[in-house]
């Protein structure tokens, strides 16, 4: 990895880390959800500081340019994270249906009680 890429990665991951932490501090992001983002920022920080890890990893995987290893890992992480979001979405959809039912059912019972 070139020096400018390392420098760019360093600045970007540091600012992302600061941004995430301020977002959590301002209560715009749940701490539980922020953990994965903080870990991610730390990982890219690690990449910027110790690119040797990726040189070794690239050799191991037979990838000529270490930067491609970085892309590969990032893409895989993005996939994993998106999938996790879909799982959460499914759970919440189900919860919304249940809540909707409860509200509608209670409303019906309330109407019936009013009539009596």
């Amino acid at each position: 990895m070139s020096v400018s890429l390392r420098l760019g990665l360093l600045i970007a991951s540091l600012s992302v880390l600061i941004f995430i932490i301020t977002t959590v501090a301002h209560k715009r992001l749940n701490i539980r959800y922020s953990i994965v983002w903080i870990l991610w920022a730390l990982l890219s920080l690690l990449m910027a500081i110790f690119p040797e890890i990726f040189y070794g990893l690239s050799d191991l995987l037979g990838i000529q340019m270490p930067v491609n290893t970085v892309f590969l890992i990032m893409t895989a992480l993005l996939y994993a994270l998106t999938f996790y979001v879909y799982i959460t979405m499914t759970k919440q959809t189900d919860q919304i249906v249940k809540l909707t039912y409860e509200i509608a059912y209670l409303k019906k019972q309330l109407e019936e009680m009013k009539k009596k």
Partner: protein, 221 residues
């Protein structure tokens, strides 16, 4: 045997009154599920004193029928018959469906094509494809997998009450056949809808629906 007719309705101001008038002749409990309609459906339901649930948000057809099953489960019904709120399904056949449940079936589908011939329209091409896939998966011949007029026995109500994965009729049918439930089809007649707009008037929605059903039957159910 306690039975409940579940009627999902979304923007059916033109049809819902007529449908309920016909349903009321048969002296069976019914429940209209108003899926947060934007027209006067809700007002008509209140005004005529029709038994109904008013949803605070729009859930879409899958969620709405599931709410009907939740209600049937909570109120301890033995049988649920689903008919559409658009007037396509004739309440005359509800008793026939119920009779089959009483005779020990778990799931009865009102089929348009059991003794009638299936026409060769685009929509029926889709229907044929679904029949074929269900046959591949279950080795059972069905004639009308997309029919929304169906009756559920107690076991199936319990299952549909809990699971979120029964969005539409074809894959639900496939699942029940694979699980070894006692499934039967009986011949019914259906009408064209009286008024209003169908969900499938939008070709993208039709394609999306078919894709979901095909993938669900092949990989999941």
């Amino acid at each position: 045997m306690r039975s409940l007719i579940v009627i999902p309705a979304y923007n059916e101001e033109e049809n819902i009154g007529k449908v309920i008038d016909r349903v009321k002749q048969y002296d069976i409990d019914y429940l209209v599920v108003n899926d947060c309609s934007t027209d006067s459906t809700g007002a008509i339901l209140d005004e005529k004193g029709i038994q109904h649930l008013d949803l605070p948000i729009n859930l879409g057809i899958a969620g709405v029928t599931r709410l009907g099953f939740n209600y049937a489960h909570d109120n301890d019904y033995d049988c649920v018959v689903c008919i559409d709120g658009d007037g396509q399904h004739l309440p005359e056949y509800v008793k026939d469906l119920m009779k089959e449940i009483e005779n020990g079936c778990d799931y009865v589908v009102g089929s348009r094509f059991l003794s009638e011939k299936k026409p060769w329209s685009m929509r029926m091409l889709g229907s044929r494809l679904l029949c074929f896939l269900i046959f591949l998966k279950t080795r059972r011949k069905v004639t009308d997998p997309t029919s929304g007029m169906r009756a559920l026995g107690r076991k199936v109500i319990d299952e549909f009450d809990k699971s979120m994965n029964f969005y539409a009729e074809p894959d639900a049918l496939c699942h029940l056949l694979r699980e070894g439930y006692n499934v039967k089809e009986i011949q019914v007649k259906m009408k064209e809808r009286d008024g209003g707009v169908s969900y499938f008037a939008n070709p993208f929605k039709s394609v999306y629906y078919m894709l979901c059903e095909i993938l669900s039957i092949i990989f999941i159910q």
